[in-house]
């Protein structure tokens, strides 16, 4: 029995399926759709677009024997004596999920050496954590994924949580799939929404195909269900009445296999200061292909400085080498939600819009009146940024 096939009696030859297939797997012959199984990747796009239900896809039976797995876990990064505050966003989301499933929320913090435990505890408990695991390991000075993955995997195998969530930083995105492969479970990257469905599955929603398609994904037959979430997708929500006594804190020393392996950081070159980080800036001035050169970005810096904001770039500007990758915004870059976003010479391609659409006010400056960015801008200025920005700086 094929995994996917066309029920010919139901097919009306409308060809919607062929139009939506990225892989050239569908042809219409004698007004009936035909699927080439050599090319089909089972992405489901055709199934969802067919109005007569003529495409049948194999649905695997879902096992229900996963009741041993309970609890929502959120991995919290603790590096060089500091908790990554962006992880609190995931914790807040985890709290919401834990209320829905009526299971406990655990913050799992892995660090080399914990300091100021009370402050860490407070930050985590304010977001609704019921239990805190502080896993201390002296051997993880460089926070390498090979070691941290082992620590997490051991803990997951022993405690059996139902869900494990990660912040999608470089660390999180490098660590989470290693953990998932180690314990042979499913993982979804860069979710923009998470919720529990009627069958108690975690539904993981994420953009794909350059950001144009939203896929909803579940992991029905395997536990834990793992997912990473980009920074600045969810808000931090702090509870007002917090009872520290009700929180269970477990602090333990853990070990990793001491395989003799040479892997260490010998130099760190910081090219972006934390204070000018685009993640937390209230004003972001973003340059696109229209800026034209690295010198052009100096103009944008002038504007950002006047407004107390940060400078960022689109993928096109980063690819040209005019601004560095840590400042890239978009599907492959960062997601931001500043109070004010000013796009200069930015056309507004979808993969960039994803990164900025939650900004409170969007201002766009572009020579081309048909630039797509104008459609989502609160204020659109058709003109030359080289003329407008200096005048703006003078008037502020």
């Amino acid at each position: 029995m094929d995994n996917i096939f066309v029920i010919e009696e139901k097919c009306n030859g409308c060809a919607k399926c062929r139009k939506v297939c990225s892989y050239g797997a569908i042809t219409i012959i004698n007004r009936k759709a035909k699927i080439d199984l050599d090319k089909c990747t089972l992405c489901r796009a055709c199934v969802d677009v067919c109005e007569t239900g003529a495409i049948s896809i194999l649905e695997i039976e879902r096992s229900t024997d996963l009741n041993d797995y309970k609890g929502i876990w959120v991995f919290v990064e603790y590096i060089s004596g500091e908790l990554n505050p962006l992880c609190l966003q995931i914790l807040s989301k985890g709290y919401e999920l834990s209320r829905r499933t009526r299971e406990k929320l655990t913050a799992v913090v892995v660090g080399q050496k914990f300091k100021d435990v009370d402050r860490v505890k407070m930050a985590l408990v304010e977001c609704g954590t019921n239990k805190i695991k502080l896993l201390q390991c002296l051997k993880i000075a460089n926070y390498q994924p090979e070691d941290v993955a082992q620590i997490l995997a051991d803990e997951i195998i022993s405690e059996k949580p139902s869900v494990v969530l990660f912040l999608g930083t470089h660390i999180g995105r490098s660590l989470a799939p290693r953990v998932a492969s180690k314990i042979k479970t499913g993982i979804t990257a860069d979710c923009t929404e998470l919720y529990i469905d009627e069958e108690k599955n975690l539904v993981q929603v994420r953009p794909t195909y350059g950001g144009r398609i939203l896929a909803s994904i579940i992991c029905p037959n395997s536990r834990p269900q793992m997912a990473s979430v980009r920074p600045n997708v969810f808000d931090v929500r702090r509870k007002k009445d917090v009872n520290l006594n009700k929180v269970v804190v477990e602090l333990k020393d853990v070990d990793v296999d001491s395989i003799e392996r040479i892997k260490k950081i010998i130099e760190t070159v910081q090219s972006v200061s934390k204070s000018s980080l685009i993640d937390e800036a209230e004003v972001v001035v973003c340059g696109g292909y229209g800026v034209g050169s690295r010198e052009g970005f100096e103009l944008l810096e002038g504007l950002a400085n006047k407004l107390g904001g940060a400078v960022a770039g689109t993928r096109a500007a980063v690819d040209e080498g005019w601004i560095e990758f840590p400042r890239q915004i978009g599907q492959t870059g960062k997601t931001i939600r500043p109070k004010i976003y000013i796009g200069c010479g930015v056309s507004g391609a979808i993969h960039h819009i994803i990164g900025i659409k939650n900004s409170k006010k969007i201002i766009a400056i572009n020579k081309d009146p048909r630039a797509p960015i104008f459609r989502i801008a609160d204020v659109g200025v058709v003109g030359d940024l080289n003329e407008i920005i200096p005048k703006l700086i003078d008037s502020l």
Binding site: L37, S174, S181, T208, Y209, G210, L214, S216, C219
Partner: protein
């Protein structure tokens, strides 16, 4: 330094997708297939190593039969051998199933305990999972967001890897799995012609992996729904409160509806600048 196998993926060129003006669905048919851009940088990095250290470079892909063209392109740039893993039973593979299949291929072709290069992520699914998953399955150390190999002495490599605030220089004992980010370097050019019979085609039996570990059945995650991202596309819906004439105008203009309350300004006149400053100050 050990030989390198580069895992590459053929992807639809997602930057060029159009909308069907009649029903606002994405027209995905006919989109050209390309080698995933990050993978091409990984290939170039491997070919640089081949030039400097005289090692062999293989390329491998898991994909449909037409992915063979991409492998030929890689061999024409200088790769020494190409493996196409193509099998209907691989359809529906999530990242765990894909990593398993690739790991089995790497073992079977004799490249386990050698270096694996790949792109940091693909432009269609953008998960970034394959590098770390492969590293775990092959029991190798990993580097992600790799920027540039600085030097290699014996089995010790110095490589830069990007992070949120800049980059780090890492000292690493090879072999390892390295995922490369795109860079602004120029891509290497084709250096020779290659005939397609240089590509070795493999199916599941050839890599000794059971079908229960791959494909739909071997994937713990499944897609249950696909929809066009309303948020990203909200400027493309036709407001049903418009009159019939207005709706036709919107559709004919490509389905674009402006954000409500939008202010459009022109040029750099004093008036324009003042308006912008007002908005900024509010």
């Amino acid at each position: 330094m050990e030989d390198i196998i580069v895992c590459v993926k053929q992807v639809p060129n997602t930057t060029n997708v159009k909308l069907d003006p009649k029903d606002h669905t994405l027209i995905r048919e006919g989109i050209p297939n390309i080698i995933n851009p990050h993978d091409e940088f990984a290939l170039d990095a491997a070919l640089d190593c081949k030039n400097r250290y005289g090692i062999r470079v293989a390329v491998a892909t898991m994909g449909p039969p037409q992915a063979k063209d991409m492998l030929i392109h890689c061999l024409e740039k200088g790769a020494d051998e190409g493996f196409l893993l193509t099998d209907r039973r691989l359809a529906g593979s999530d990242t765990l199933a894909t990593s398993r299949a690739l790991a089995a291929l790497i073992r079977k072709t004799g490249y386990n305990n050698k270096n694996v290069f790949c792109g940091q992520e693909s432009i269609d699914s953008s998960t970034g999972h394959i590098g770390p998953s492969l590293a775990e399955l092959l029991c190798l150390p990993q580097i992600t967001y790799a920027k540039e190999i600085l030097d290699i002495n014996g089995n010790i490599m110095h490589i830069t890897s990007e992070y949120e605030l800049g980059h780090r220089v890492i000292e690493l004992e090879l072999p390892a799995v390295i995922s490369f980010n795109k860079s602004s370097k120029d891509l290497r050019k084709k250096i020779r012609n290659i005939s397609e019979n240089k590509i070795k085609t493999l199916k599941l039996e050839d890599i000794e992996i059971d079908e229960s570990f791959v494909g739909l059945k071997g994937s713990p995650t499944w897609v249950v729904n696909i929809s066009v991202d309303e948020g990203a596309m909200n400027f493309l819906r036709v407001d049903s409160n418009l009159s019939a004439v207005e709706r036709i105008k919107v559709i004919l203009s490509g389905g674009i509806v402006e954000k409500k309350g939008r202010m459009m300004l022109k040029g750099g006149s004093r008036d324009t600048i003042e308006k912008i400053v007002d908005v900024l100050r509010s």
